[in-house]
Structure formats: C-alpha cells, structure tokens
Amino acid sequence: MLLAGLACGTPDAGPPGDTAPPPGGETGETADQTPFLVDVQVTVDGTPVEGATVVQAGREAAWTTDVGGRVAVEVDPTVPGDLVLVAAWPDARNVGAPVDGAGALTLALERFDPADNEAYVFADPGAHAVGDSTAAECGHCHLTLHEGWAESAHRSAAKNPVVHEVYQGVDFDRDEEGCADVGAWEGAREPGTGAAVQACVVAEPAPADGGCADCHAPGIGGVLAGHDLLDAVGLAYEYGVHCDVCHKVESVDPGAAPGVAGWLRVLRPSDLSPSPLLGPWHPLQFGPYIDVVNPAMGAVYRAHLHEADFCGGCHQLEPVVAGADPARWPDGRLPVHTTWAEWEAGPMNPAAPCQSCHMPPVADVGNAADLGNEFDLVPGVAGGWYRAPGAVRAHTWDGPRAVASGMLELAARLELATEVDGDVLVVRATVQNVGPGHALPTGEPLRQVVLEVDAACAGEPLDAVGGDVIPDWGGAAAERRAPDTLDRFPGAAVGDLVRLARAMGWVDYEGYGPFGDGRFDAEAKGVPDYEFVGSAQIVAVTADGVVTVDHPEWLAQADVAWWVRAADTTAALAGRPGFGFARVLADAGGRRMVPHALATDVVSDNRLLPGASWTSEHRFRTVCADPVAAATLSYRAWPWAEAQRYGWELTPRTMAEASR
C-alpha cells in the first residue's frame, strides 16, 4: 500500500512512493527502454490466488494469474510516469507496487469487510474548484467528471422541485391567496429540511413508502432503504445521486427492488482506516478501472459500471400496486418505468448499453482526475496515469433535459407522404424510433411525444377535415363524451375552441409488454381511435355553460369534445390534427396521465419501441393544386393538465420537423 500517494506530488518532489521499496520483492535496474518481464505473484490474505488480474498502470493490457497465483507481466518502460504493477481481486482493494527492472514481485491483497457499515457518512462531492475544496471531496481531483455531474439530472434528483411537488401533491410556488381556487392551504413539509410549512395542496400525495428516496435520495445514509424523501437533508438533498453513492455499489441484482433497496447493493466500508489522513474508515470505491491505487480511493474494479444492469437499478420500476386490476396485471405489478427492460429486449443489447450513448467519451482530459489538464503531476499513484483519449466517459448522463446534447433530435425520424384526392390533401406522417435502445419516450411516464400536423396553400392554413388527432392527454380545459351532450362547458368564453372527434374504435399497436405481446386486444391497449371532425369556435355561452359554436353540425357528428381556452390553443392540444405517443397511467378514480405513484393501471402504452414506427393519416381541404403539409414532432416532459395543476412551465422541445 502506497500511503504516500494520498498527497498531491509535484515533479520536483518526485512521485509519491518513488523511494519506497517494492513491497514483497526486489526488482533490478534497467538501463534502457526495452520491455522487461516481472514474475508477479498475487496473494489474498496471504494465499496465492488464481484468476487475479494484474496490469501495468497506464496501460490497457491485463494479465491473469495462474493456479499458483503467478503471472509473468511484460512491463513497458515507456509508459509515462511511475512504473507500477497493480493487482486486482474482486474482494480486495487494488494493490500496486513500483517496478524498475526484471525480477520478482509479490502483490499482497487483503479482503475488505463484506458487511455494509450504516455508520459510514457518504463523502461530499465538494466544490468544483481547485483550491476551494479538500482532498476528501471528490471534485478536488475529478474536476471534469464533477463539472459534468454537477449539471446533471442525477445531481438534482433529490431536490428536483417537480419531484417534491408530486411527492406531496403541493404547489410550493403558490401563495395562500393564489391557492384559493385550485387547492387547499394546508400543512406540508419543506423539501430539504423537512420543516413543517403551510403550502397549497393541489393533489393527492405519493405514498411515503421509501420507494422514491431509494433512487432519488440514495445518499441519506444509515439504513439504506425505505426513507421518506423528506428525510433527504444536507448533502443527501443537495447532491442526490452523487459520486460516493454510485461508487459504493459493490454489485447489482437486476430484478430486485429498485435503487439502494436491493438492485444496487451498496457496500460502505467497515474496516477501520489505516491512517487518520484517510478518515475513520478504510476508503472503498468501486470503479471502472483496474489500475487505481491511490489509497484515498481504496479502489476495487467492477465491470458493472460499464453495463446497463447498473443503470437499470434506478431506471426500471415495476412496483406491486394495490388496486391493480388482476385481470390486466396478474402479479399486481405495473410497468411504470421500464427503460432497462426495453433496452434488454431490444436490438442495442448488448452492443450499446446505456453508457455508450449517455456517457460519451471525453477525449480532452488526461485521465479521470484531469491529469495533465489541471494538475502538473508525474503520472503515478496520486493522480493516476494517462489514459487513451476517450477512455474517460462524461458524467453528464445527457437525456431530454440536456438541450445542447441534441439527444432528442437524434432519436426520431419524421417523414411525410402526401397525395391530393379531389379537394382533399391526404397526409401520412411516419414517426420512427431510430436512435435510442429504449422506447420513445421512456422513463418517467408523464413524458410524451406529440405530433402536430398542418397544411397550407401559399402560406394560408387549410382546414382539417379528418384523420387522426392528438388524444386527451394533449390537454384541454375539459372533455365531454357522448352520450353526454357535447356542448356544456361551464366557464367557457366566446372565442374559445371546441375540438370535436368521432370515436372509431381502438387503435391497435405493438407496444411494451402486454401492449405488444398478444395479451391485450386493441381495446385493452387503450388508445381510442379518434377521427377529426372539426375545430369549432364558441360564439355564445349561456349562464349555465351551454355553448354555441360556429359549426353546430359538427357537434352531431362527434362523440367527444374538448374545450380549449383561446389562450391555450397552441399548448392544449387534445383533438388537434396529429398524434401522440405515451404511456398513460390512471389512478383509481380513472384520472388519466397521473404521476406514477398514484397509478393503479397502465391504460395504454403506444410509445415506440426501438426501431418501431407508426404512420398516422390526416386530411385537409385544399384550395390549391400544390398544398404543403408540415409536421412537428415535440417532446413534453409532463402533460398539460399536470402543468396547469402544479404551475409548471410547459416547454415542448422540437425533435423533428418535416414538410412536403
């Protein structure tokens, strides 16, 4: 163990460990740059072990010990920095020793205590600034990784205001006066402190059964699983999914309870620290590299950091839900969040795990500790060794929220085909999931992909006369269905719209799980097949809310009507020409597109699986020979109705546009 490596060395001072004799053996001098062989024996707790991995730090090549724990390793003396051989074993911290010529070397590893330590306090990721942090903080050395993480959704997982508002059913931005019409001014708890406050309760809260915190706030500490999300205070609240949590995951158990409740097996060190410089416990980090021997890390190699199963720990949620219809969900589990399973069943498995798209290579850093960029160190124990450009992967986990990443623009293909049939322009819009290895959209089921289709002659919009529409969750102030009358919308005003559609049955499609494997018929798949009838303008409203529209004949042709306020026509899209792709969850009362913690059913799921496409048809009355159709495919993080309820900003992001 090279304890001297804890401190940051300088070229003048010489690399840490430079003068230390190699533990367990002597190696001779070498005078040139010729590769030389070192006979390495690896022991664990004093016993030679077969199958241990030996590497020369700073190289990709790896060797494996034989039955006697031995292997001959060819050392490349041209590798910049200290020449160090490192041994790795799954149950022991890596051990390294310097070599300077051919000879023999014993690398003695010691097993770490396999018991998780509830007394351990997760390390602080720290400030991202050299000089503003201490070596005990991750960002002190890992500048680039820290910088990426600090802007990521992982960092804000525990303090995400949307999560907290849904968790308590509260709109924290609304004052008592503003709450009067939409909710109840009642007791709530302040996110980040847990303090009792008064807030505007606008919806039913999520059950505080710990499921949320197991992924959103895994760094709460103590007993790992089952915390109330409001237990997240301090670092656990501020930093959410952070360095010392992910790198404490010793193994993964796909299929177990999400997060730190089972899927991600966290192992916090129980061994006492060998030095007060290293804190109270012997450092222990599970990482993606074998040649890390800085004693401040206590590094142990784990391949799962490269694999989708690791990400699946918090990107796969199929909870058992009380009240789920056993005829639809025999085991009581609702497929709420199935990104990992979608990938696992898809064509990107195994070639493109999550990391290959969401953690792209970073070529402009010397290594994960910014060796050569920020730190003028000799490559060695303290700062690590140079890695081939791109070996370091970004810790940004770019997704739909990372606008600059362009991930949404890469995900889908949108193509239009048109034909003119008499005075009708027929537009067929095909949307294909061409990029992701998972469904589109995926993850949090409030997410939607919305297609809007229009047509024009010389820039003048054409009237739609038929075809598919955006479903209810596209947003409307109210909905009415036959056999109820379609003209009663209390609160409506002249100038508002009533979008009208005819029910044609059910859309059949191939979606995830029972929505595509034959278990559900089209009706059970739950996507109504609506045919556009018209978008009528309200011209009169009675005191009891009966509306008169400019095309009353459409009311008779329609089976469903959506009232849209004049101010909302570009955001509340239900009934508009277009289509939509979403997983729709419903609560026990039948309310659709609810947050997953309230759901008792997945009523539909027509999201596009990897490679899948869907063609919708739309018809417009054309007044010219060369009409132009245009379509926009957008992503919405949450539905219009929830945005209205909680006061969230609805900011659709364009994924693709097409015209023809």
Binding site: Q355, S356, A363, G435
Partner: protein, 449 residues
Amino acid sequence: MMFWAWACVADESSERGLPEVPAAEEARARPEMPFPPDAVDLDPEPGRVAYALGAQAAVHLVGDEEIVGYGYDGMAPGPTLRATVGDVLTLDLYNTLEVATTVHWHGMEVPAAMDGVELVQTPIPAGGAFTYTFPVRHAGTFWMHPHVDTDRQVDLGLYGVVVVDSPDEPPADDDVVLVFDAWDEAESGDGAADDHTPPDPRTVTWTVNGALDPRWSLSAGAAVRARLLNASNTSYLALRWPGVRRLGTDQGLWGAPGVVDDLVLAPGDRAEVEVLAGGGPLDVVTAPWSAAGGAAWGEPRRLFTVEGGLDTAPPLAMVFSGAGPPPDPGRTDLLYVFQGGAPDTDWLINGEAWPEVTVPTVALGAELVVELRNLSATEHPFHVHGNRLAVVSVDGIAPDTLQVEDTVNVGIRSVVRLLMVPSEPGRWLAHCHLLSHEQGGMIAAIDVE
C-alpha cells in the same frame, strides 16, 4: 501495425511535446520524403491505361523496426496508378501472398463486379490473378486496397493511391501523393485491449509515404499539388499546415478553395492541397484526435517538415466551379444511425450488424437524400462504395462550398446529410472505415436497380 512505438516517450520533456534534438543532428537523422513511384502504364494506346501489380509479402522499415507485412509490388504505399477522366483503366493483379485478396477501388464509380468485395468477387487465391477493368469517370484522389480480411491486409501495407486527372485542370510542377499510416495502433500480445478501445493518438507512430518524420525539400519556385490519404486503420489526423490552400477532397476539387488550419482526415479520407515553395522550413503536425471524442488531450506531433526554398512560387491556376452545396430537399431517403461501443460486441447501423442487415432497394439515377446520425461512443468515417456523396449539411449547417465525398466522418451525436445519385446497378456496401468497426459488423448495403 502491432509493434511497440518508436515514438513512445521516454521522459517527461519529450512526452509533453516534440523531441528536442539539436538541429544539425536532427538534419542528419531525418530521412528525405520518399514518394511512391508511378506505376508503369503498359498500354500505349490513348484512352487506355493498363497496369500490373503484385500483392506481395514485404518488409517495411519503419524507423529502426523491420515490419513483415504486405505491399503492392512490395511497397507501402504501392505504386501510384494514374489515369485521366475518360480512360479505361485496367489492372492485372497477381497475388503472390499466401492468402486470398482483392482490390477495392475506394471512391471510384466502377461497375459492381469490379468493386472487389466478396459479394461480387471470389477473392483472388494465393498464386492467382485477376484483371480489373473499368472506365474512369471522375477526377480525384482515390485509393486501392483489399476488401477481404480488410482490417489485417490494409494494416500490413496493402494500399496505394489512384490519381485521376481532369483535362480541365492545369498540371502542377509536381503532383505528389502523401500517404499517412499509423503503425502501432493497438497493443499486442497477452492481455491486449479490446479493439473497441481507440488507439492513443499520443503514442501512435505516423509515417508519411512510409517514412518517419521526413523532410520534404521543395524545388525552387515549385507549385505542388499534394494528394493526401489517411490509410490507417483506426487513427485520425488533425493536420495543421498553415499557409497551404485546400483544393479538394475525396472526389476532386471543391467548389472553391479553402484553407488548412485543422484538417481532420479520418481513416480512408483524402484531401488535395496546394504547396508552394518559398519561406522557411515548416513543420506539419497533427494535433491529437481520437475516434473516441475528437480533439484530444496532448501536444501536436510532427509528421514531416516542408523545406520550401527561397523562391516564391505562383499559385496553381486552378479553376473552381464556384458551386455551393446542394439545397436540402427536406426529406430523407436513406437513414443510417450508428450505435454501439461496448467491448466485445458488434458495431451497429440501424440496430443491425452485418450480415444480418436490411437491404433497401433504390432506383438507378434517382436523387437520394442520405442522413447519417451517430449515437455511438466513437466517431465513424462512413464510406459508401461506388457512389459520390455531396455534403448538404453537417449538424444543420451547410458547407461553404460544394464538397463531394465518398468517406464522410460523423462525429459523436452529429448529423450529416448528403445527396447521392446511384450511377451503377448492383449491391453496394456502405460501412465505417474504422476497419475494426467494419470487421465488427458496421456495414450496411444498398441494392441499386
């Protein structure tokens, strides 16, 4: 090429930059720039060029290392084939290797039967021969290499340049080829890394026309047209060559000349530049660039030095069309999405790996809009056989001038749109020219009818 790097750094000073060698000693140690000879035209008839080459075992001297490899007529690069637009080019290839081989005419519009891929040709067996013959349609800088066991055979040195002149272009004082190859792209032996790990641009050894760090002495007053080829398997060049005009790309002249500040040449990629005598010696360097992430950490490394003499040369009297990029038709006919990156797995296009791929059929002569999207963990130089690709846009931005390519690098999370008009019927491959990726399944195909 699998051997330990000549240029691996031995100490910190050299690791941070170029070797510090006294000038006089440096001058003695550095070789003169070699140029591959022109192959001998065996057909005196106008309108025809005929060549004969042998695919042979060869020993390449790279610095002090002797590398046992292959070469056309024993050379890497092999002799340069020259032709003029309108010629019929014939090559009799004699295979004296112990393995089968073929010739693929990279970038040339040839009949499908001449494309050198196993779809259309039984590889030429050891001791066998094959005659390739086709009309030469377009001017440009092309190259020839095997398309069987490609990763290994190209790596061992089987490649050469094909220069096609246009009668409309004025001859240069010198018209030369500069072929770059990287010779230590991966570790070898026990414990070698998975080939999904891109080579380290800080340690690969680059040769120019087979020479390490040569000096190129221009003739006094010379105006030189230099045709550049990156023949490496997986290594990128990011050339910094101030003061030269960029004349063209894979498929001949651009619509207008450009400059060479950071010229990224992906494996398989070509460029044409104008080099003028005059001024003092100039080091041409490559900045670190990796398939895994592009511009990389590290210092630029010298590839060669141009010694330009004292007499300034006038620029070449090239006539550029002035054409801009084609407008974007707003549709996509062929979409290729690149995926992958996990060790020991396939590289994918549209979720598929060769040979289990969907093959679309397109019409001969139809204008196709091709879109490339890269969602994988590395860049990919995408090469379409037997077709020319006009660049419409890169990440939504149209180029300044007409650029016609056959090998287009696509950065990570980048989108490239191209126009293509198939001119020959048959089945054509389209693949990543990082040859380990090609071997790893990153191949698509198009049927042209």
